[in-house]
């Protein structure tokens, strides 16, 4: 083999090895560190997201789906303000009743949107509802489930979302923004496929490595229902006592004032 032929062989070999390396690179699962404030009825869920570099800088979009149990609510006005200040991009229900107790509330989800970056931090302010008083417990444990991650990449970049990365390779999901959730994409035969539908229903749920510093649990105080009777008696007693005391104490002065005003009135009527 001549030297010239050897150099050609070496060049192509290197090219082949490099191509192989590119094909062999497995995109690592995104990492999400979740943290919640330690105490209070009003806390912030902080997410620190890390994406592997092939996903960064592409036209991909992610959504972090945070399911919230019935004992947790968000203030839509608060999130509107955060969106206005460009501190958050999220999809959430249009109306969340913030007054009802846990027992009468419904769970829902919040979708946090973004484009993959090497690292990114997001904050979601959440609030805990009151629990109905009970005879058996003085606190209720509320557990917040781990978030789910969905990715949507344009067709040209879709190969980036490898099968190993996808939780359910056989499934695509549609973003249901009005309900703030994902629905499984069920293709019906004969149904025309529009571009908008393709974009909306090109979401794939991906594996995510969730790292927690502390469990996402909160102890919410609960009142003692069996205290209702004494409290009812106390409320009635105090209400009546204060009303009667006020009347008795001020009656002499009011009588004197009315008498003098009546004298004035009679005098005026006489002058007229």
């Amino acid at each position: 083999m001549s030297m010239k032929n050897f150099k050609c062989l070496l060049f192509f070999s290197v090219l082949a090895i490099m191509g192989g390396i590119r094909n062999c690179y497995v995109v690592e699962s995104p990492i999400v560190q979740v943290e919640m404030d330690k105490a209070g009825m009003h806390r912030t869920l902080t997410y620190r997201l890390r994406f592997d570099y092939p996903l960064v800088g592409k036209d991909c979009e992610y959504v972090l789906l945070q399911a919230l149990p019935a004992s947790v609510y968000i203030s839509t006005d608060e999130l509107d303000d955060l969106q206005r200040l460009k501190r958050l991009s999220a999809v959430y229900p249009k109306f969340v009743n913030i007054e009802v107790a846990t027992e009468r509330a419904q769970p829902f989800s919040v979708l946090l949107r973004g484009t993959p970056k090497i690292t990114e931090a997001l904050g979601l302010p959440v609030h805990f509802r009151y629990h109905a008083p009970s005879d058996k417990r003085s606190a209720a444990t509320v557990a917040i489930p781990l978030p789910e991650l969905y990715l949507n990449c344009p067709t040209a970049d879709s190969e980036l979302v490898e099968n190993e990365l996808v939780a359910r390779p056989d499934k695509l999901y549609c973003l249901n923004a009005p309900e703030s959730r994902f629905d499984e994409n069920v293709v019906k035969e004969g149904q025309p496929t529009t571009m908008a539908h393709l974009e909306r229903c090109n979401w794939r749920r991906v594996h995510v490595e969730c790292q927690l510093k502390t469990p996402l649990r909160a102890e919410i105080p609960v009142g003692q229902a069996n205290a209702y009777g004494p409290v009812l008696c106390g409320t009635i007693l105090l209400g009546w006592s204060l009303a009667l005391w006020t009347i008795i104490r001020s009656m002499a002065n009011t009588r004197r004032i009315n008498q003098r005003l009546n004298e004035q009135r009679l005098l005026q009527q006489k002058v007229k």
Partner: protein, 466 residues
């Protein structure tokens, strides 16, 4: 010199300086102050995630947006006000987002103008009546329209009216509430306007009936805007009576046989209330009736607040607790109605005592309400300046003690509320206890005000008078 004397002299000097400045200057300073607060609010909201603007302001602005789009303001969730509020704030969208705040701040200043005029009129009238009463003792009862020369400077209507208006203008709570975009000043303005027109009708015999009819129109509008002024109705009605009600039979006669003036008030109120309510009902249907009125009766909000009834309501929300009987509900509600009836009969029978009566009724409504938040305090704080002159029997020291007690009771309530909200401590009973303490404090303050109320506190120079 003792510490208390120095304090008193200090207050007197400050009072003297305030009295020397003209009312127009005070209005100008207050207007600038409010403009500055509105500008600060705009800047604050563009930077901070904790907004300065009241949440209700945003709700009403959204309602206005719905109206401009040809829809109903009730399409905005939690919109539970009269549609008038949304109409008032349509310029928030068309002109500038701060328009509504500017409007409410203007009403804030208009309230001060009404306070000034009302106190001036009230004191002048009371002075003339007192003089007439005194002269009658010297057998000279026919010398009416006395000049104000016999009055000392501190009791002069001009000075007292200015001081009362300043009490409102420089109250930080009210200035902040209106510039945050709360519409409470708007409704408070119409409450004071009603009192003003009723008092004015006593001095203007020619237009007396029209003024009372006007008062009725204002009263009907304010009931349409906020339900609570409905409870002022009995006092307004009794203030127009021509004789003292002393027995239950007298009272029944008063109610069943109204005089001409009382008819004017009732008709004015009904015309206004029905006209506004019917118009909006025909526009927005049952949804308007439910959201603006009925919702406030069926609402159950067991979250912590200043009310005495908070703990009861919270514990009552347990599934194991049966719905209380009508009798029990009546037992809880009755003291409030008893006090309102007592106050209306005690202070509502003469127009001289009407401003204080309405203040005291508003105080009782808030104190005994099932839900009490800081914003409700404006219901009676707007009326307090009208009665300042009537508390001259209370020393400065006692006044400050009462104010201190009121603030202390709130601070004591805030501690367990903070521990529950931000530390997740189980402080429900503690909050309930502090709610009871705040309730008792308010009761004590009311009793002190009722017992020290005086309507003829003038220093009249007999030499000048006679």
């Amino acid at each position: 010199m003792s510490q208390s004397k120095i304090t008193t002299v200090g207050w007197q000097r400050l009072g003297g300086r305030i009295l020397q400045t003209s009312f127009k200057t005070h209005m100008l300073i207050s207007a600038l102050l409010r403009l500055a607060l509105i500008c600060y609010g705009q800047l604050h909201d563009s930077q901070s995630a904790v907004p300065y603007t009241d949440i209700d302001y945003k709700v009403v602005t959204d309602g206005a947006r719905q109206v401009l789009a040809g829809g109903t303001p009730f399409a905005r969730h939690t919109y539970r006000y009269s549609p008038i509020m949304a109409y008032l704030q349509t310029l928030n969208i068309l002109l500038h987002p701060a328009w509504g705040k500017l409007l409410y701040a203007t009403f804030d200043l208009l309230i001060a103008t009404l306070i000034y005029r009302l106190v001036h009129m009230e004191i002048k009238s009371q002075y003339q009546k007192t003089v007439q009463h005194l002269l009658s003792k010297f057998n000279r009862p026919r010398e009416s329209n006395q000049s104000l020369d016999a009055l000392d400077a501190r009791s002069h209507p001009e000075n007292l009216a200015r001081a009362s208006a300043c009490f409102w203008l420089y109250n930080p709570l009210t200035a902040v509430i209106s510039t945050r975009g709360s519409g409470d000043c708007f409704s408070s303005f119409f409450v004071i306007l009603t009192i003003y027109l009723l008092l004015k009708s006593e001095h203007d015999e020619v237009r007396s009936h029209w003024l009372i009819f006007g008062a009725g129109l204002a009263h009907g509008l304010v009931i349409h805007l906020r339900l609570y002024p409905l409870l002022f109705s009995l006092a307004y009605y009794l203030s127009l009576s021509t004789r003292l009600t002393q027995t239950p039979l007298d009272f029944l006669c008063q109610i069943l046989r109204p005089n001409k003036q009382q008819w004017c008030l009732v008709i004015g109120t009904l015309v206004s209330l029905v006209a506004f309510t019917w118009t909006f009902y025909s526009m927005y249907g049952w949804e308007y009736i439910y959201e603006a009125y009925l919702y406030h009766f069926v609402r159950k909000d067991p979250r912590h607040n200043f009310s005495l009834q908070f703990l009861l309501q919270y514990l009552g929300s347990a599934t194991s607790v049966p719905e209380p009987s009508v009798m029990l509900k009546l037992l809880v509600l009755a003291p409030q109605f008893l006090l309102i009836l007592y106050l209306s009969l005690s202070f509502g029978q003469f127009r001289q005592t009407l401003p204080f009566c309405i203040f005291a009724v508003a105080f009782v409504i808030v104190t005994y309400n099932s839900v009490v938040t800081s914003q409700y305090f404006i219901w009676y704080l707007a009326l307090l300046p009208l009665c300042l002159n009537n508390f001259k029997l209370l020393s400065w020291r006692r006044c400050f003690t009462l104010l201190f007690l009121w603030l202390l009771a709130q601070a004591l309530w805030l501690l367990p509320a903070y521990l529950l909200e931000f530390r997740t401590w189980n402080t429900f009973y503690w909050i309930g206890l502090q709610g009871a303490v705040f309730f008792a404090t308010n009761g004590y303050i009311l009793e002190q005000l009722l017992s020290h109320y005086g309507f003829t506190q003038f220093k009249i120079s007999y030499r000048k008078l006679l």
